[in-house]
């Protein structure tokens, strides 16, 4: 069990002029759920495709349970299962036929495959739709079938590549339940997602990816603490009032305020949401500053990246760590 389930060591991959992975490092201990969080184009899917032996890479090393994905691809394929972004099931065949097909390709006898298919259909609540073409399944059902196909035999490592992309909240919750039901049985899970929420729900440990490498790592709580909680935003009528407003906001929130001249906006992290808002409104009223808009806002994923990486997503050069991020621990309600 000392051997990490998944290791990437300085993996680089480029497509023509585009660098997809730029020194990607990752270590996932066996039996844990690891989230790869990042925006579109961060390199999450490229990383998963490399681990799943679907893609060659230019340099670096990647292993699954100690087996090199490039040299021992055959062995690796015997240890992994992949549930992709695009539900990779046969849409002409029924759900049951799909599970039989993949079961037989995995070397199960017809009888074993049949028994396993029935168990999985039951487990993923697809028994009623067992004989329907997968093409007629709803998005959520198709993902569940896809996940079931990955669990015909218990894989050592399961890759879930944006398993809930495009699903409505209800289907998403059901899929999350299905994923939870399979972890804790020794399978290591690598989950890619664009949603902090999803990584928070499912993963023990999260790596934040941007521009082909890991830019931050930690538990969901670590990352949330670094991202910060809600922010208060004040837009003033006259740019001349920005200084006064910033001082006032900093005094009330006890946090450093960011000033955006173009938007005539002052913003700062807040701890006591409503109390801070009320106080700022009152103080602004007392000083006579003309306010155009004021409100509380959760950080967006973009801001999370800004706060974790010191630069907006996609911009080439890392800026120095922003000073307002001073190791506070902040709770945000999920």
């Amino acid at each position: 069990m000392n051997e990490p389930a998944i290791v990437a060591d300085g993996v680089r991959k480029r497509y023509g002029d585009t660098v997809a992975l730029d020194g990607f490092d990752l270590i996932v201990p066996a039996g844990t759920v690891h989230g790869l969080l990042g925006p579109n184009g961060a390199g999450k899917t490229t990383a998963v495709r490399i681990f799943a032996t679907l893609l060659r890479f230019d340099s670096g090393r990647a292993t699954i349970a100690g087996y090199d994905v490039a040299r021992d691809a055959g062995t690796v394929r015997g240890l992994i299962a992949l549930t992709g972004q695009y539900a990779a099931v046969d849409e002409v065949l029924s759900g049951r036929q799909n599970l039989l097909l993949f079961g037989q390709l995995l070397g199960l006898s017809k009888r074993q495959a049949r028994r396993r298919a029935d168990e999985l259909l039951e487990q993923f609540e697809l028994t009623d739709a067992a004989t329907k073409s997968a093409g007629q399944y709803s998005g959520g059902m198709r993902r569940r079938l896809d996940l079931a196909a990955s669990l015909i035999r218990t894989p050592d490592v399961l890759f879930l590549d944006e398993p809930t992309a495009g699903l409505d909240p209800r289907s998403r919750n059901r899929l999350w339940d299905a994923v939870r039901s399979v972890v804790g049985r020794g399978t290591t899970v690598l989950l890619t997602t664009q949603y902090l929420d999803e990584a928070d729900q499912l993963a023990d440990h999260i790596s934040v990816m941007d521009s082909g490498r890991v830019v931050a790592e930690g538990t969901a709580d670590d990352l949330k603490a670094r991202i910060g909680g809600d922010r208060i935003e004040v837009i003033v009528h006259h740019a001349g009032d920005l200084r006064t407003t910033a001082d006032l906001v900093e005094r009330i929130t006890a946090n450093r305020a960011d000033v955006d001249l173009d938007q005539r906006q002052v913003s700062a992290p807040v701890r006591e949401r409503v109390a801070a808002l009320t106080e700022v409104v009152r103080a602004l009223h007392d000083t006579g500053v003309a306010v155009e808009d004021i409100g509380l806002r959760r950080p967006t994923l973009d801001e999370a990246f800004l706060s974790l990486t010191g630069r907006p997503t996609g911009s080439p050069d890392p800026a120095p760590e922003p000073s307002h991020e001073s190791g506070r621990r902040e709770e945000i309600s999920a």
Partner: protein, 279 residues
């Protein structure tokens, strides 16, 4: 939620030898492709309707104005052409199916599993051959109904079917290559007709090349499709055997040579395309 998951660990498949796995996975994949035919019969109905339509339209509408060398019956002349043409249009079915698998990520799942690499193409080729046998059977029935016959015994007739299937194998490889090169089933469907139609028009399928302008007749004679059609006509004992050019005299040789050559070109190209999926 059952807890059978842990129980499955012991039945993790042992690793059979390569050859066994190639055969086993190829056969599993063949069955998969054949169940597609069973599950979407409307698709196969469409594929059958085209050649039957050609038999009826050309046999009866245009047929009355068509000339056949040696004063033969036009429908007797036509049927071998429609057999070969049906094999050619199978390229669409093959290409679309492969493009669909690649485009929708089904191939990714296969490739990430401990499955023989050849299973995808083996399964496709075998299933398409079975399908071709089905198509030929339907066309034979249709041909018999409109007055076509084989005149030189069942042995020669089966040889003719063998030549048609050889052509189909070559076409399958072209289709697989096409499906891998253009992983979008709709686009493949659009490409196939403009690709295949000139091949059927400038050939001996509908009109004897010796009745065409000289240069066009030569092109038509050298068309791979014509070689199969001419050889099949000869084996069935149907009219329109063609003139005394070298190519017309060696139609059986060419009906074997062309498919072998096309397979030798397109099978490696398809395999390379398949490997390029991991680029």
């Amino acid at each position: 939620m059952t807890t059978e998951l842990t129980a499955t660990r012991p039945i993790r498949p042992d690793q059979p030898d390569r050859q066994v796995r190639v055969l086993r996975d190829g056969w599993t994949m063949t069955k998969r492709n054949l169940s597609h035919v069973v599950r979407s019969p409307e698709e196969i109905a469409i594929y059958f309707s085209l050649p039957i339509m050609f038999v009826l339209v050309f046999g009866y509408v245009f047929g009355s104005g068509m000339m056949v060398p040696d004063d033969g019956s036009y429908r007797e002349f036509l049927l071998p052409g429609v057999f070969a043409m049906t094999m050619l249009y199978g390229m669409g079915a093959t290409g679309t199916a492969i493009a669909y698998d690649v485009g929708r990520g089904v191939v990714d799942r296969f490739r990430s599993m401990p499955v023989a690499r050849s299973a995808l193409v083996v399964g496709r080729s075998v299933a398409d051959l079975v399908r071709a046998v089905l198509e030929i059977t339907v066309l034979v029935v249709c041909g018999l109904a409109v007055g076509w016959q084989w005149h030189r015994g069942i042995g020669n007739a089966l040889l003719a079917v063998g030549l048609l299937l050889m052509l189909r194998i070559a076409i399958t490889w072209i289709g697989i290559y096409l499906g891998l090169a253009v992983p979008n089933p709709d686009v493949v469907g659009l490409i196939v007709f403009p690709l295949a139609f000139p091949l059927t028009a400038v050939s001996n399928v509908f009109v004897a090349p010796e009745l065409m302008p000289g240069w066009l007749g030569t092109i038509a004679e050298w068309n791979p499709l014509s070689a199969t059609v001419a050889a099949v006509r000869e084996l069935f004992g149907n009219p329109g055997l063609g003139g005394d050019t070298w190519i017309a005299q060696h139609s059986t040789l060419m009906a074997i040579g062309w498919p072998v050559l096309l397979t030798a070109i397109f099978a490696p190209l398809a395999v390379r395309r398949y490997q390029h999926l991991s680029r």
